[in-house]
Symmetry: C2
Subunit: 195 residues, 2 copies
DNA sequence: GGCGCATATGCGTCAATGTGCATATGCGGT
DNA sequence: ACCGCATATGCACATTGACGCATATGCGCC
């Protein structure tokens, strides 16, 4: 039940609707955690049933009415209880790693293409973190406890992306050295499976 | 369908039984990917139904007979097809990050305890990666394509653990500076929820 | 002789997650 | 008039994952 707690954590900042939460999960927290709107609405219903959050309907014209969710005292307590439990270190579970493990049984060219795309992706995200860091923490220090948490969060994100980007570069270099050496028969076009 | 492909990737090395795969997922690949034996057996059944792997029963005395699974040509092709698709960058999804985001609504002491445990955990893993690297790649270079993949894999693992460990240290330092400042009422004993 | 352990495979259930589809409406473009 | 888009919420289904439990047997320990 981690997504529920992530939502509670978001609601400590300010009351939000499911729609807003979905957008939040598309930016700030969402850099670390992916969740689409259905997942969030479902979790919101559960949290409401448990009494951890309270919904207040706001009538709107031209748009559907919205439900603004607020943390209840029970919700705050639940969040604190959850945060007091030891965390479980997550595993990485990146397709890239599995492919590396079977590197001599797969085709190098798609792997190189993928590594290049990933390199760009992680560089973009890194730049994004750095941009936000410069904007929110120009002098690299935080004042309150909330700010401290977000500063640390952004720093971790930046470092992580930096590290993965470096890794992609290194892997590409290493692959260049052996490229075309033991390449298997190319895949026939039109036979590739899709996601 | 990523676990299935991870299993196919493992079977490129050598034929294995479900039991052996479970142990593999507890060590080498398992550093990045957690899967218990039930999950693996279920996935093996699916892969067998698809014709990606072939089971050969080996009669044993004293122990239950074992099923040694081998990659079929179809399985190899499926793995190559899968590896030719672009990978999706995974999200981090670490409880620690959620807690940091809500840092001013939770208790610091359990957070510090947790960070210390995590620091130890990631240091241990880092040491483990370094140990394996020194043993398998004493001069830091790989010969074949398979070795190259594993070298890169271990290097990524080592760097990742190093980075997270550094982060834990930094977070602990930063928390020390503010500790006891805005601490909320401590949780009552016996009221903590469990996993 | 009973207990736990390693070997070896598997079922059942539930929570978490992912994907597609449904509904309702105003606004701006073609 | 119709289409797509942003706003706003939600159901249904399938897959994946986590957890407990079941079965079968030989071996060493106390």
């Amino acid at each position: 039940m981690a997504l529920g707690d992530a939502i509670l954590a978001c609601l400590t900042e300010r009351p939000m609707t499911g729609y807003e939460l979905a957008k939040t999960f598309d930016s700030s927290i969402g850099f670390f955690w992916k969740a689409d709107h259905q997942q969030i609405y479902r979790e919101l219903s559960k949290l409401r049933d448990r009494g951890h959050i309270q919904g207040r309907e706001v009538v709107q014209s031209g748009k559907p009415n919205k439900l603004v969710y607020t943390l209840t005292p029970e919700g705050r307590t639940a969040l604190r209880h959850w945060a007091a439990r030891p965390s479980t270190p997550p595993s990485i579970k990146d397709d890239l790693l599995v492919r590396l493990h079977a590197l001599d049984s797969i085709d190098v060219e798609p792997m190189r293409t993928d590594l290049m795309a990933r390199l760009e992706h992680h560089r973009d995200r890194h730049a994004n973190y750095e941009r936000i860091l410069k904007k929110r923490f120009p002098d690299g220090t935080a004042e309150g406890r909330l700010d401290l948490g977000n500063l640390l969060l952004l720093r971790l994100g930046a470092r992580h992306e930096q590290m993965v980007a470096d890794f992609c570069e290194e892997a590409l270099e290493a692959l260049s050295a052996t490229s075309g050496k033991a390449t298997v028969v190319p895949l026939e076009e039109g036979k590739r499976e899709k996601g």
